[in-house]
Amino acid sequence: MRGGLSKTVAVLGAAGLLAVSACGNSDDGGGGGDAAATKDVTVFTWWADGGEKAGLDGMVSVFNTECKDYKFVNSAVAGGAGSNAKQVLANDLAAGKPPSTFQAHAGAELSDYINAGQVDDVSGLYKEFGLDKAFPQNLIDNLTVDGKIYSIPANVHRANVTWTNPTVLKKAGLDATKAPASVDAWMADMDKLKAAGVKAPLAISKGFAQEMLVEVVLLAELGPDKFTNLWKGESWDGADVTAALEKYKKLLTYTNADREAIDWPDALQYLNKGQAGYFVMGDWVAAQQLADKVPDTAYTYWPSPGTAGNFQYLSDSFTLPTDGQNPDGAKCWLKVTGSAEGQKAFNTKKGSIPARSDAQPADYPKYQQSAMADWKKDKIVPSCAHGAACTLGQNNNILSAISQFSGSQNVAQLQKALGDAMKKS
């Protein structure tokens, strides 16, 4: 064991550094605690760059005029689509040093925080700010847990969108502007594409992209009510679920072989380069295409086949942490979050649509205008992959089951695993 001591010291040194850096972080999050701290509103997000950062900046400028008494303190943690941030946030919350307000996906993903007693009921604020009138009733129903609401949504994204490449579809004589009426009709179109030499008509990537495809197939085959209830404890054992999962299995035969090895921007490139005709992904694709300067003539989009009339939503929202720093300042931030002006400043830059139904479509780019029209008239259903319908733990188990299925192709096993995942909280 010679040399063990120096190794130990090195390891302990590293551990010490980690501890110090963790402390530094909590201090940033928790405010200094001196007189000036009462004015600070620390806002915790994972919006650190790109359109997200621009959106946050937009909301901050509204905050600075609306809430002159308070000072915005940015406490964003970059990287990993929020997974790094959730770690830091969990540490701060466990240490009893919550920020003034933090970002979380609206819906079931909040239940981890609710069960842990870390967030307060804000339904009083909905009345105070008039949000119970401004948001669609459908959305408020989705957000309500046992008669209480725990967050205020800043935006809405749509998950059940299929993106197409019209040039590829033309090879098989298909009209890219019209969605197939059902999953079966969609697969018939993909057979035509295969016959026309497109090897993998449906682009897909690993992890949550496959989960989203499972969800749109379930939504199309079972309808919105049954679909929503599956996430609320209804049994997954039915023959209708089996039939839908069999269709998902068949859909996978139209996808690229390297689906387990690539991320969604790579899959989007398969579509843009003409290797694939279809791609199922949330509407952040529109912002990505804008950023990549792909002209909007090079792609079309429609609700995934069989799901027209349903708006599968996910939403970033802000909370009021229990015993947070400066609750009055946090309430002012939440007021801005829910206000027409704040949502406009945020969403025109982030590429999402406002949760309020009274927003002006003319302020937004082309895709968002169509999404806003649908948001008003469609039935609103939640998305599991993005936290509206599932907790983090449930989502982990579902992702694991879907990755297992990608290799095993065993429908019965997948169905049982999905049901088991939703039984656990």
Binding site: M1, L12, L93, A94, A116, G207, A257, G393, N397, A401
Partner: protein, 299 residues
């Protein structure tokens, strides 16, 4: 009395910080994790939690996902240890024979170890792309360029547990073989030349020289190598995470499962996985430590 303190006092004083730090940060926190694993702390809620005995462990061992991760780990460890020892020994033998430019080869073989696993993992995730035929990328592309198309395969994304975990072991073997080579090479160099000469004078063939004279002298090194590789493999996280991402059933090992579980705030279950992992590593390391201590006290 004073005299006695003078003998052990300074030594104890020097050791004290280490003992305190180790006691708290290693053993104290192990005890804390074990304690958590016996409770029903399945959320991030603070305050007291109820003790549920070994329920978390019973649940873990009744769960497909956890058993799958243990089996994956077993296969990975065997593949990784065997592969690394074979390549390490092979390279050591080649260099030991005295090639020209030995220093260059030694550096080339050792370099992969200098790369952090998370970085090499990202590159290997590109190299191990499962596309084949016209769309082949990464290593499959290389195979098709040099005309070895029959070698193209789906790597870790399809096939049995063995093919899956062998594909994951491949980058780890690439990364650590150079280190094992260095260990063996040092071992060869430590053997006095007189022994070889004596064996040759007695008419031993080259094979017999290695089999009966040189290899027996390397067995302590082989044992150390085995332990080092074994415990590295059991704790392997970053490489697998970088190649396959989170919640990937096919390649999940307990370390990754623990991380996923902790991220979803199930603290008791995550602590349970950590303790099982610790027990598995301990089964490997404790006999080795006991053996080393006995060896040293014999000397």
């Amino acid at each position: 009395m004073h005299g006695r303190i003078r003998t052990w006092g300074p030594g104890a004083l020097v050791l004290l910080p280490t003992v305190l730090l180790l006691g708290y940060f290693v053993y104290g926190l192990i005890a804390w994790s074990f304690n958590t694993s016996l409770t029903d702390r399945h959320t991030a809620r603070r305050g007291p939690a109820d003790y549920v005995g070994f329920e978390n462990y019973v649940n873990l061992f009744g769960e497909d996902r956890f058993l799958n991760s243990l089996k994956n780990l077993g296969v990975l460890t065997v593949a990784f240890i065997v592969g690394t020892l074979i390549f390490g020994l092979l390279w050591a033998l080649l260099l030991e024979k005295g090639v020209t430019g030995e220093g260059i080869f030694r550096s080339i073989f050792l370099f992969p170890m200098a790369i952090s696993m998370i970085a090499s993992g990202v590159v290997w995730s590109w190299l191990l792309n499962p596309s084949q035929g016209d769309e082949a990328r990464g290593l499959n592309r290389l195979f098709s360029i040099v005309g070895l198309n029959f070698l193209e395969n789906a790597w870790w994304t399809a096939g049995s547990r063995w093919t899956t975990m062998l594909s994951i072991a491949l980058p780890a073997i690439w990364q650590l073989s150079g280190y094992i080579m260095a260990l063996f090479l040092a071992g060869f160099r430590g053997i006095p030349p007189e022994l070889r000469e004596a064996a040759r004078v007695d008419g031993a063939s080259e094979f017999k020289l290695y089999r009966h004279v040189l290899f027996p002298q390397l067995s302590p090194i082989a044992l150390s190598a085995l332990i080092i590789l074994g415990h590295m493999s059991l704790k392997l996280f970053d490489l697998i995470y970088a190649i396959t991402g989170p919640n990937q059933f096919r390649t999940e090992v307990p370390a990754i499962y623990m991380w996923n579980t902790l991220l979803s705030n199930d603290q008791a279950k995550a602590a349970g996985i950590a303790i099982v992992l610790l027990a598995v590593v301990a089964v490997l390391v404790i006999p080795y430590v006991a053996y080393t201590v006995r060896q040293e006290s014999n000397e």
